[in-house]
């Protein structure tokens, strides 16, 4: 510790890295606290690290692999002078400036970093079903990463839970390996975009199970099956599967900021406080990307809001710190 940074960016998905590119080009020498490796979407690079082909990011008409796209974002940020650290923030103190940030031991007396401004871009992580057995069977049939684990289900009968774009992307990807993929959705229609829906309907390995929810995960050492409840009739049925992939949505990563930044009831950070679109309730703390967006949640909207956050931060520093 000692040096006070102009801006610390917490998180390194499309939002954080775009904020880093813009603030680096504004000569603010941003510090990016990228997070730590994990097998969930809460990892450096964010949710795209667990996807395969990204087909809707402008500028890549032929598509690009999610991890490759994020490697390019990062390279661009570092090229202009951003400092990226593979560290996970464990505590922040935003009650006074400079803001205090800890990595490693959150109980350490001295913070690890000090910064005049903070851009929060911690993103969102996948929700789990929260059923007994689910956590225990991760890696033994229950998976949080289709791209990592699909390979091991060659010839298997498996299920994907969810009805949005990511659920269908996973289901489609998994048909490369599995014999049959049952897409279990609790409603009677999909939330996914039209093009993704068509992809699911036209894939003969994908079977849709409408109005159904998983109520039980069975297996001792490895997944043996699930119990599914029909949400209309209430009827329970048993399904023998060896793989279960859960894609039922995301929860914003805002635990660090509880009690310090204003959150919606759903956990998303509240932005647009005052005149700046990315401003939080604490002057000098800005937020961008999925951590504050429960509506669009796309890589491109995250990147766009990252740019806004960097410009808002630059103007705020100019007016309040560097003047």
């Amino acid at each position: 510790m000692s040096e006070i940074r102009n801006v610390a960016i917490i998180g390194s998905g499309p939002a954080g890295l775009t904020a880093a590119i813009y603030s680096a080009r504004a000569n603010l020498a941003p510090l990016i606290l990228e997070g730590e490796p994990s097998s969930t979407s809460d990892q450096p690079g964010g949710q795209l690290m667990l996807t395969t082909e990204v087909e809707n990011y402008p500028g890549f008409p032929e598509g690009i692999m999610g991890p490759d796209l994020m490697a390019r974002f990062r390279e661009q940020a570092v090229r202009f002078g951003a400092e990226a650290k593979l560290e996970k923030v464990t505590r922040v103190d935003l009650s006074e400036r400079p803001f205090k940030i800890w990595v490693g031991d959150p109980d350490a007396a001295e913070p690890t970093y000090l910064a005049q401004s903070v851009i929060v871009s911690t993103g969102a992580k996948s929700l789990m079903l929260n059923l007994p057995n689910e956590f225990k069977l991760i890696g033994h049939g229950v998976s949080t990463c289709a791209t990592c684990d699909g390979f091991f289900f060659r010839g298997h009968n498996i299920a994907v839970v969810g009805g949005g774009d990511s659920a269908i992307e996973e289901a489609t990807f998994l048909t490369k390996f599995a014999d049959k993929v049952t897409l279990i959705h609790r409603r009677g229609e999909l939330r996914a975009s039209k093009i993704m829906q068509d992809r699911a309907f036209n894939n003969e390995k994908i079977e849709l199970l409408w109005n159904s929810e998983v109520t039980e995960i069975k297996g001792t050492n490895k997944l043996e099956g699930i119990t599914v409840r029909d949400t209309i009739t209430g009827e329970l049925s048993s399904m023998a599967i060896t793989g279960l992939f859960v894609a039922i949505g995301h929860r914003p990563n805002t635990d660090l900021f509880i009690g310090q930044l204003d959150l919606e009831d759903s956990g998303y950070l509240i932005t647009g406080v005052g005149e700046q679109v990315t401003a939080t309730n604490v002057p000098g703390v800005f937020a961008c990307g999925d951590v504050q967006d429960h509506t669009y949640r796309q890589a491109i909207t995250a990147a766009g809001s990252g740019c806004s956050a960097a410009i808002d931060t630059e103007r705020w520093l100019e007016a309040h710190v560097h003047s």
Binding site: E36, P37, S39, G139, G141, C145, T147, F151
Partner: protein, 108 residues
Amino acid sequence: MANAINTLNQANFAEEIATADKPVVVDFWAEWCGPCKMLAPILDEVAGENSDKITVAKVNVDENPDLARQFDIMSIPTLIVFKDGQPAHRFQGASGKAGLLQSLDEFL
């Protein structure tokens, strides 16, 4: 086994594990696995710093599907620590250095 990270395959696996004089941490991984690639440099670092206590070895599951099947690998990265030739501890998922050290604690 040498202290550098070893590459194991179907042909040398059994012998290398059986003759190791220290616990062997075997990393089951593949090129297409993002979290595996994130974990690799961290594992390298931990291997280097603890070369007196453990050795680290890697199994590419793409090239060695039989080994993956033998150890029931259904998710990567999976790390299995072999002690005295037998699997003694198993965990999966990428983590940061502190998390990895904690998972390997009993062998360090």
